[in-house]
């Protein structure tokens, strides 16, 4: 094999790189960037990524115009001294307006300038208020109320930077809802994957013995795996239904739950329901993966074990399990990651109610339902970190071989 890649060969890889760059790497990097901002698309003051202060110059100039216009009306009703003071204030307002007259639309301004500008606005505000308070007995055309409204609007012309750095990550450490959903995710993952491994292993061992009629079993086993999770979850939610659900009724009749309604509407019930639906859907997948692993084990080994007088338990632990370990670990890794990322099933079945809110559900609610992209990204990245740790443990500690480059 050659050691270098020619331009032509690299061109074969180009479409892959483009797609991964646009639809995987760019979104991942974007999420990382979002996490550094208080980015909420339903709040005008935070609907973008602002690293510096932004200033709505046209609105500011318009407001300046209103202030001088209102003062122009009222100025004749006060004393000479107050008139002079208001004139001075109007000059200051006009000066501010002229300063930004050439600015087009929303502009970026340095923080120092923004501070100075709005300190000046506050001074103007105080001065105007003082004059009106001194003349409380006069009935003005416009009065302090109207001016106050305009002055308040002027303050919204400044959109402060919503760069928060790593502080959202600090917030995560005190977010009890995050830790609760992490806990639910771990419970769901550990229990469902353990059950799938045990059932899947049992089925694979049986299917490996009896070759007759295996085709039919395999076909049946594939169907739950092949249908959309969102659809199978809906099927289960019907069978769990408190009034017309058959599974809820059966479980009540055999005494597993107190009443059919408790299947989805109690904490333990909802989590068990989700786990059961997941085990139903993915045990066949696990069984088929393990069966494929079993079928490549040399039959001669079993023959010689038999001759040496090893019982079934010994054969399983000394021959089958060690030889199955590579397939088992990879299957386990992929299933663990899938279960950890669970979204469709829980979203359809409970929507995250009754203690079944997993990390995916929480993150989706933050980002899409509440438009809180900044904090949502933090939760999602924390989840990605967990996924990374799971993969690390499987690959480095347990020795799952997933990348083979030979």
């Amino acid at each position: 094999m050659r050691k270098t890649i020619t331009a032509k060969q690299a061109a074969f890889l180009l479409p892959l790189f483009l797609l991964l760059a646009v639809f995987a790497l760019y979104p991942i990097i974007s999420s990382a960037v979002y996490s550094l901002f208080d980015y909420r698309t339903n709040d005008q003051q935070a609907a973008g990524l602002y690293t510096s202060d932004n200033f709505n110059a046209p609105l500011f100039i318009e407001d300046c115009g209103y202030i001088t216009w209102f003062l122009e009306d009222d100025i004749t009703l006060v004393s000479q001294a107050d008139q002079a003071e208001l004139r001075a204030v109007m000059d200051r307002v006009n000066a501010l307006a002229t300063k930004y007259a050439t600015a087009e639309g929303v502009i970026k301004i340095p923080s120092a300038e923004a501070d100075k500008l709005f300190a000046a606005v506050s001074e103007i505000e105080a001065d105007i208020q003082a004059v009106y308070e001194r003349n409380g007995h006069v009935s003005f055309y416009n009065g302090w109320e109207k001016l106050n409204t305009i002055l308040a609007e002027m303050h919204t012309c400044l959109i402060n930077s919503n760069f928060t750095g790593l502080s959202a990550y600090a917030k995560l450490l005190h977010d009890t809802r995050f830790f609760r959903s992490l806990q639910s995710t771990v419970i769901f993952t550990v229990i469902s994957v353990s059950l799938e491994i045990v059932f899947g292993m049992g089925l694979a061992l049986i299917m490996n013995q009896a070759i007759k009629g295996i085709g039919g079993v395999r076909t049946t086993a594939l169907i739950p795996w092949a249908i959309p999770t969102a659809v199978s979850a809906l099927m289960w939610s019907y069978m769990y239904d408190g009034s017309s659900g058959i599974i809820a009724k059966i479980f009540t009749d055999i005494g597993l739950i107190a009443s059919p309604e408790r299947m989805l509407l109690s904490a333990g019930g909802a989590m068990s329901a989700a786990i059961l639906a997941d085990v139903w859907k993915t045990t066949p997948y696990m069984a088929l993966l393990l069966l494929a692993g079993l079928q490549i084990i040399d039959k001669v080994l079993y023959e010689s074990a038999k001759i040496d007088g090893a019982g079934p338990a010994k054969t399983f632990f000394r021959i089958t399990l060690p030889l199955l370990k590579p397939s088992l670990l990879v299957a386990l890794l992929f299933r663990t990651l899938d279960a950890f990322r669970v979204y469709d099933l829980i979203a359809v079945l409970t929507g995250g109610a009754q203690g079944t809110e997993t990390l995916s559900i929480y993150a989706y609610k933050l980002m899409i339902a509440q438009n809180n992209y900044g904090y949502g990204a933090v939760v999602v990245l924390a989840m990605a970190l967990c996924v990374g740790m799971i993969a690390f443990v499987f690959v480095k500690v347990l020795g799952a071989e997933i990348v083979r480059d030979d």
Binding site: M1, K3, I5, Q9, F12, L13, P15, L16, L20, V22, F23, A24, L25, Y26, P27, I28, S31, Y34, I206, M207, Q209, A210, G215, R218, T219, L222, I223, A226, P228, A230, V231, S232, M235, Y238, S243, S244, K249, W280, L288, L289, A292, G293, P326, V330, A331, F340, R341, Y343, D344, L359, S360, Y364, M367, I368, V380, L381, V387, I402, V403, R404
Partner: protein
């Protein structure tokens, strides 16, 4: 001898129980789809196996609500995804399986990490991207599917290409074939079963996708089956009759795919997980 027979019977019983558990939900959905609403919700009739007054109303209702339009959308979206993902995966997997170059380990690691990353990481930014480009509610959603289908397709193809002996290509190159000709005329025909396997797996993954379509295509007109069926659960009522009828309709294509292509599906599931 006696113990052997007992194990055999026990095995058969376990397999039978397994099959019963696998099939039961489908069976129950099928019989419910023929029940009229009052029987589904009735206290005495809800758990009857055979409906007292079997009806096709549920099917008629979901057909009127345009479930076939969602089936059509699912077909369009899954087909487009399969076509471009398999083409891209074939090209790149050929190079990744055959050429040794610096940074290849990194490329493989990136592909693998993308398949492991929580899908939730990409949803928010992709929604923003589609919003800014004004392509929400369109078939462009297929492009976003690449983040979930492409890594697996590449993985399956690499495994298949590696099984093809190198000598075939060497012979082709001695005969004066260019890299493109070697791939297209020599390797591709041999790798066709692998191409087919990755196509089936991509199609199923795209057919089953829920999260991206739900987020990017809120408009009913562009919804795929998994999203459309869930939309039958309204805020005020759950139309189980219609939901079960729709489920029966959409499970049929999956059933056909599984029956026709089970060999390819099992091969696709196990490549990467099992080493020969």
């Amino acid at each position: 001898m006696k113990t052997k027979r007992t194990t055999k019977i026990l095995s058969a019983l376990i397999i039978a129980a397994f099959l019963a558990v696998m099939v039961f939900p489908f069976f129950w959905i099928l019989i419910t789809s023929f029940k009229p609403s009052n029987e589904i919700f009735g206290k005495d009739t809800a758990f009857n196996i055979i409906a007292n007054n079997p009806t096709l109303t549920n099917y008629r209702e979901v057909l009127d609500k345009g479930i076939l339009n969602s089936v059509k959308n699912s077909f369009i979206v899954a087909t487009i995804t399969t076509l471009y993902v398999v083409s891209v995966a074939t090209l790149s997997a050929y190079i990744l399986a055959r050429v040794r170059f610096k940074g290849k380990g990194l490329v493989l690691a990136i592909i693998l990490s993308v398949s492991m990353f929580p899908q939730m990481v990409v949803v928010g930014p992709i929604f923003n991207m589609f919003y800014k480009l004004s392509i929400l509610n369109s078939y462009f959603v297929t492009l976003a599917y690449s983040s979930i289908t492409l890594p697996a397709a590449v993985w399956i193809m690499v495994a298949h290409f590696k099984r093809i002996p190198l000598s075939i290509e060497e012979a082709a190159s001695i005969d004066g074939c260019s890299q493109w000709q070697t791939l297209w005329k020599v390797i591709f025909p041999i790798a066709l079963p692998g191409v087919f396997t990755s196509a089936i797996m991509t199609f199923i993954a795209a057919w089953n996708e829920y999260l991206l379509t739900m987020t990017l295509n809120a408009d009913k007109e562009f919804q795929t089956v998994p999203v459309a069926i869930n939309a039958l659960r309204t805020q005020f009522s759950i139309l189980w009759g219609e939901i079960t009828a729709a489920t029966v309709l959409v499970v049929i294509p999956t059933l056909i795919i599984v029956l026709l292509f089970q060999k390819q599906i099992v091969s696709g599931m196990t490549s990467g997980a099992v080493k020969e």
